[in-house]
Amino acid sequence: MSLLREAERCLANQHAHNLNAFITPLSRSGKWLDRVKEADQRSEKGTPKSAIDGRLISIKDNICTRQLPTTCASGILDKFTSPFNATVVEQLEGAGAVIAGKTNLDEFGMGSHSVHSRFGPVKNLRRDSAGQEISAGGSSGGSAVAVAAEQCYAAIGTDTGGSVRLPAAYTGTVGFKPSYGLISRWGVVAYANSLDTVGILGTNTSSVRNIFSILNHHDPRDPTSLSKSSRSRILAQLQNSPLSTRLTSKPLRIGVPLEYNISELTPSVRTAWLLSLAHLQKQGHTIHPVSLPTTKHALSAYYVLAPAEASSNLAKYDGVRYGTRGDGPDGNGQADGVLYSNTRGTGFGSEVQRRILLGTFSLSADSMDNYFIQAQRVRRLVQRDFNAVFSAQHPLFDAQAVDPASVGAGASAGAEVDVIVCPTAPSSPPRLSDLTSESGQSSPLDAYVNDVFTVPASLAGLPAISVPVTVAESSRDSGADIDELAGIQVVGQYGDDELVMSVGELLAGNRLGEQ
């Protein structure tokens, strides 16, 4: 199929489905058509710019584009167009890709179901067994649905605490969050800078890998972008050590974190996990229980740190220099009232306001020590947990600085593993009606629990991928007669992004449990 036909089919799909995946869809005509035709010509001549030359790639609407608005799904930016392109947009266009539109999300990336959007909730292409609409996951739900519904070749999302992996798991796509600092954040609207990463969503791991290779470069405009020298040092460490033979000649040691077997885990997800492990074992890899004892505090730490940074990052939205102003006077009319309270009160949605308040509280002088500082300590412990179970050393971690008492502590002593395999989410997607109705059963806290398996890798800055596996009907004891889809997550040591994608590839798309 020519690139042009593929693009036209994506365009048709964008307009055919009523999934609300896009805030700004691709226009029916425009320069992009010529660009795809040119890519077709290059492809015929055998001189494509890259593996994604002429492909349509969707961009989450919290990533800046000069040509299309960047709303962050917020009322305060609902008419905002950025004066510059994000580095990732420049990189993709430089490689010949065409921006397929801007996808819907939870406002500023805050949410797990893509329902907190000024432009309405994203709908999953799938339905549950009762035919009810279900959550697409969040916050990159629009990007995931756009990929699942073939409205684009692949999509770019952002992952702060699981925002790429969770929607990938819910939509049956591949979602990859690289190591922190590998992909530039210049032009990515900050939610929680120390956790934010750009992630990639695709139908398979090879498309994700192709895009990653284009985005995985140092960017001097992003002060948190990993330097060129660190990149080459990490590469050298991976190539010139016993680590280089992993997966090629040596079987992998797969870690199974015992703490992840929580009571909230639904049976179908647990089955998918077990079958995935069995699948890997069958291929000659070995399974090892490991302990990540701080996991149970990780979620709380995340929901202190991320809102704290968010409350700071979102202070800039006052409607003065850009963005949408509230009607009427600026303040609330009180003598000592707060400046911009009207604009911010009407511009931000409820979840964003909730997290701003949470963050403002945890940073306030009286609670700083009990919340923010404590959460930072937990974050360190989470990192230490991972370092203790991975056989590869953290390349940015000064070996001299490791506390000898902490090394080898816990159940994981001697059980050093190459990757960790676990579910992406503890349960299958909830119904949209449960999430959006006023009297809905779910509270914000229920939504937060969905992030329990994705947050630890975010806190530690580690690479993680969610791949879809299918559990055959025959291996389940439920009454339903359709195959169950689940997301399985692979987490690796910092810089082990290639290995994480390779292990994901071993599992992705497999129909497990067939005799």
């Binding site: 950025s82 510059f84 032009g187 009232g337 400046l339 306030s364």
Partner: protein, 636 residues
Amino acid sequence: MLAPNDLQIAESPAIRTSRALRFLPLPPAIAITFRLSMLRPRPRGTIRLLDRFSRPVTRPQNLYLQFRQFSSLPTRSAPTPTPTSSVQPDSDRVPLRKQLKQEAKALKAQKRQRKESEEASREIWELTVGVEIHAQLDTTAKLFSRAATSTSDLPNSNVALFDLAFPGSQPEFQAATLLPALRAAIALNCDIQPVSRFDRKHYFYQDQPSGYQITQYYEPFARNGYVDLYDYDGIAREDGERIRVDIKQVQLEQDTAKSQEYPPSSQLLDFNRVSHPLIEVITMPQIHTPATAAACVRKLQAILQACGAVTTGMELGGLRADVNVSIRRRGEAPGNNHYDGITGLGQRTEIKNLSSFKAIEDAIIAEKNRQIAVLESGGVVEGETRGWTIGSTETRRLRGKEGAVDYRYMPDPDIPPLVIGEDLISRLQDTLPTAPDQLVVQLTGPEYGLSIEDAKPLIELDEGARLEYYQDVVDALYSIHPGQDDTTRAALARMAGNWVLHELGGLLTKADRAWDSEIIPARSLADVVDHLQRKLITGPTAKQVLAVVFEGDHRPIPQMLEEDNLLLRPLSREEYLALAETAMAQNPQMIEQIRSKNQLGKLGWFVGQMMRTGEKGRVEAPKAEEVLRELILGKA
């Protein structure tokens, strides 16, 4: 008519210039106008956002007038009433001279009274003051963007994406801004920290685009410095010859936008200033007199300027000061408060944004007296932030403790730690310009022999340019006749000091011109001094030549003296005798007085007569006096 207050204001030139500067010289290119309901609540429905991205057509008249009043007072004398121009009924008129005299007298009495009451209260109450100053660093780039720093460019012409807090933009630390900051910290004798970090200080205000200021709260880049203040720095007499004020820390931070008020409901914002690098210097609360506090800020400014760390001083808005003030009764149990490790202090208040040295001194006096009045009437001093309006007599409450801003300091997650190497510090140490105190020692030492009164202004005037010029003149004088002995050199250096400071200074003041080393080239001034010193021209001729050069005559001095026939052709003794006799014939009475009552001072009158009648530029006063003494008193 001038109120005493106005006179007080007029006395401080700093106020005049800072007032003038608040008004941007150019109309803003992008002006953002919006209502400021936090400051001035207004009923609903009033116009908001009237002309966003446009600028007001007219300037508010009242402000403009006020500005003119301030600027014209000190520079131009009040119009002298002429007898014919009187339109007022005579009975209302007080002659201006008399009026000014009365006011000056009243002011003097007021000052004396103030001094006495200050003295009395000081015996009962001990004052404690700490100072914080914010100084704009002399850098070409902003702290976190590549946009240029500017103070005079078209408003909003030097603004990067990050300066306006555009979504998705990130900070880019400009390493070069570190150099002046480090020079300042070294000059203030601080320990430079090998690792320091940047934090966000949150508050909502229209001059703060990102909703936070990036500063160094938890880990500043320099700590534990000190500044020595000497008697010649203007410290209070009770502080003796020298006191040392410790510096707690020096931190790097961003400046805010410049806002310009257009009452009642408009503010114009110039984002050129956003992220201009600042250093904040925080002293320990170790100062006990208002004069010393002002001297401390003046000294800090002089040090920062001398080491090339800052652009402009307080008078041009490049430096702003906050002070914290507390009092405690002498001889009583120590207070319960401690600040920066100093215990036993009374509850302190903060006075924000003082923009002149006089304002610092006045505000501290006023705040101290307010606290005394509160305590003496049985009240309690509240920990609060207060403001000071120039010319006022009281500080005013800005916000109290309950309204205290919680800045929610948070480490900036985008900015890596600042790592400063030993090699950089030692290199800067080696290349640091001489400190002002050391310059004072040099200039008043045997080599230059200047008085402290001349040395100080020479160092401080024109941000060091005057001193540089002086050195050029001295160097030129030495080079005209190499190999002079030390005494001659010192004499030349002292003479040069006088001419650079007073003669040249006088010409500048009279012509109302700003300093420019090119008006009179250093070599020309050196030639004038040289000729004078070698008695080849008279003093009056030297002054006259200097004035001619000042007016733009660029001939070399020797050529000018030759062509204009200005070189001294000494008069013969006979010529002096003739001149003296002519003069004496004019006033025999006075001669009698000199002789009988030994009123030698009256000789001067005759010298003057001789200078006047003699050929211009040829009569040398000492010689004329010598001849007169001989003739009148019979002494050789």
